[in-house]
Subunit: 242 residues, 2 copies
Amino acid sequence: MSLATDTADQPTLYKRIRADIEKRILTGEWPPGHRIPFEHELVARYGCSRMTVNKALSELAQADLIERRRRAGSFVRRPQHQSAVLKIADMRAEITSLGRSYGYELMHRKLRTATAADRQRLGVKKAGKVIAIACRHSADSVPFAVEDRLIDLSSVPDAANADFSCEPPGSWLLHHVPWTEAEHTISAIVADDRTAEALDIAVGAPCLVIDRYTWRSARTITAVRLLYPGDSHRLVARFKGG
Amino acid sequence: MSLATDTADQPTLYKRIRADIEKRILTGEWPPGHRIPFEHELVARYGCSRMTVNKALSELAQADLIERRRRAGSFVRRPQHQSAVLKIADMRAEITSLGRSYGYELMHRKLRTATAADRQRLGVKKAGKVIAIACRHSADSVPFAVEDRLIDLSSVPDAANADFSCEPPGSWLLHHVPWTEAEHTISAIVADDRTAEALDIAVGAPCLVIDRYTWRSARTITAVRLLYPGDSHRLVARFKGG
DNA sequence: TTGACTTATATGTCTAGACATATAATCGTG
DNA sequence: CACGATTATATGTCTAGACATATAAGTCAA
């Protein structure tokens, strides 16, 4: 084994100090709550100036691995809870960022007085006007996702005049309506006849489903259901923990 | 108003420099790709030593707000787009919070030297030891999700001694190992024979798939694949936007 | 025992230098 | 023009100090 050459080839001193401490925390040798050696002790151990160990400890503190308290010392923090930031840019950005050409096709648009089903979906009681939209997003001319959306016109009156034949409703809303809250529900289904045709996949093929509800201060703006071919599309959420 | 005394009461110089730059980035005054002033220019502007502006810029770099390139300068990074906070607590919390009883069953556990496939999955080059685990989570004695996990022992040596026959590896890791970064990939598949049996669903039924990779400062900790019955389970992400 | 005051100390910030190192830009050559 | 060598320069790291500041701990009086 040519591994474990811990001492040699360290990039820089402060990084080595940081890595050393990090290792002890990760292995559990220094459990949460454990007091890390004082700066002056680390200075003695590594034979460097205080600024060098301070830089190592400051970075560990910025990364929330340790907590520093004046006069008391530095302490290992408890591991953080899990939460992920799920990035869902608008569809055009999502597709073009993959280096593929974006295509959009409005399949259906209807302005109507909200039906009972519409009201339930939007979570509103009054029967105002809504726009129902069905459209398809494609990447390199291959169906990427189909969208089934309902917009509450009493919350977004301007949407009645928007031209959704060229601009996807998601983009339009993103650029015209600020939102304060949203909820995503992710599930999986198998494609029925209609979905299979729209996505150009086989009946019975897996589909990833994202339902998104968007509000602005307790007022529903829009409800959208996105269907992705489940075996080809992957929704990636990269995030920083803390 | 006694507030808004911007110039007075500044905490420290480097924090003020950091806040100034952060503000310009967040307001869009300095868009992504924009080169922020060189250190020596900031030194002149703020009348301080280089170490002070260096500390401010280093922290912005650690926070991924800017990117620093030798000889070239420091540049504003692309900001994150729309994002949702997807909370995925550990499985026990997820199930008990639904008011259902949690059940756990270790199906398979093996400590081995990383195979080529393991290394690729973990994104590591060196062939260290890994633990491969397969287990099942159930709610009210009904299969809820099956888990297929790989833990990199060179990152989490203690995991070799953990008893995963009673405690789910996710819980153990959550309580023993802090993470800094993770990536989720969500997709959908239809159940094959083995999956169908493990989840007690029909072959060909939809399954929601979550692949999660977790790192601690560029070091892979674990890779896990979770399979949920797609028609019964719903993954909810509620979040606040701007 | 409790509260107020004092002190010791670990971290927080800062300086004015130094040398190292990666690399964009320039220059020179075939 | 293409390509390798050289140079200039911005960042990366480090030092040996300094003073500031929050606060744990000790002290003392009510």
